[in-house]
Symmetry: D2
Subunit: 98 residues, 4 copies
């Protein structure tokens, strides 16, 4: 089962500057080999369900190891059985109608 997610991980108890933690998650995602794309309020990630959620778990582990005592994450996850649809397909499909 393929899934496309939007991941927004927020470490708590580490002050207001979160970018070092988000950068560490980008490295986790790069190491995972999954297709991903950072935007201004999260990261889009595409792949097989188990691989994608293993990467999300690894992000939590790495951010805790960096010293964050608490994390709250928001995830949007989309699956479909009618056809395959990539990240780019979704954006293109909207832009064609503008």
């Amino acid at each position: 089962m393929k899934v496309l997610i939007d991941l927004c991980l927020v470490p708590l108890g580490v002050g207001v500057s979160l970018s070092p933690y988000i950068a560490a998650c980008q490295k986790v995602l790069a190491d995972s080999g999954l297709k991903s794309e950072l935007h201004s309020y999260g990261t889009s990630i595409e792949g097989e369900w188990d691989a994608v959620f293993a990467a999300v778990k690894r992000c939590h582990e790495v951010v805790h190891e960096m010293g964050a005592p608490r994390i709250t994450t928001t995830i949007k996850a989309g699956t479909r059985t009618d056809r395959e649809q990539s990240m780019e397909d979704k954006v293109r499909s909207v832009k064609e109608k503008l």
Copy 2:
């Protein structure tokens, strides 16, 4: 790693009445043995990370098997290393301050 999540699964392409699908997810959660509690815009679920996310995946599979061609899900997920905190602890902690 323990996690507390809020799960809100939305089947698409099945009309506006979503409760049969949400009820099927409640059965998945009951079968999983995880502690969970339905509220008006989602379900709180508490447990070990792998068991919780296996249940979320099973919900997607079951809802697709029921005929939904597309699903979009919103998840909030919280982990902490400083102390254990249950669903009830979180609510109590706020209510004590009112």
Copy 3:
């Protein structure tokens, strides 16, 4: 236009104990006269769109006034034109099918 929302406000830069801020938001909601219900990962709020989102804005203002320099909030918002549906209706509709 009526709306039912799930509100989860997270102050950043104030350490790991968030309950004083969530309690302050509960007071904002009580003062607003809107129907609301706290759960373990957010608060359900029901009412007219403008009143509900005015309360959300007021929560951000109050939490900043308490000293939080940064806030990230997750909101789920549902509207429907086919029929009225309260918080309790949504939960009952699922439970009837179990």
Copy 4:
């Protein structure tokens, strides 16, 4: 109060093809004059709180007028009082650390 949001509006009861509705929301956002950017699981929007949430409300109204009987929307909303930070600033801040 400035806010940066991530908006993901999902019409229900209109089948699985949602792009015509998302395209209509892009037009609402263009008409609003707000800075916004479509990505594969939502749209980032930046501006004054009232203007941003007026645009979100207008999206719900327009999508209902197009015939969608039900809508569920997920919003992430960030405010900060310590400094100004644009959409581009947030992405740049992470990329500098890679």
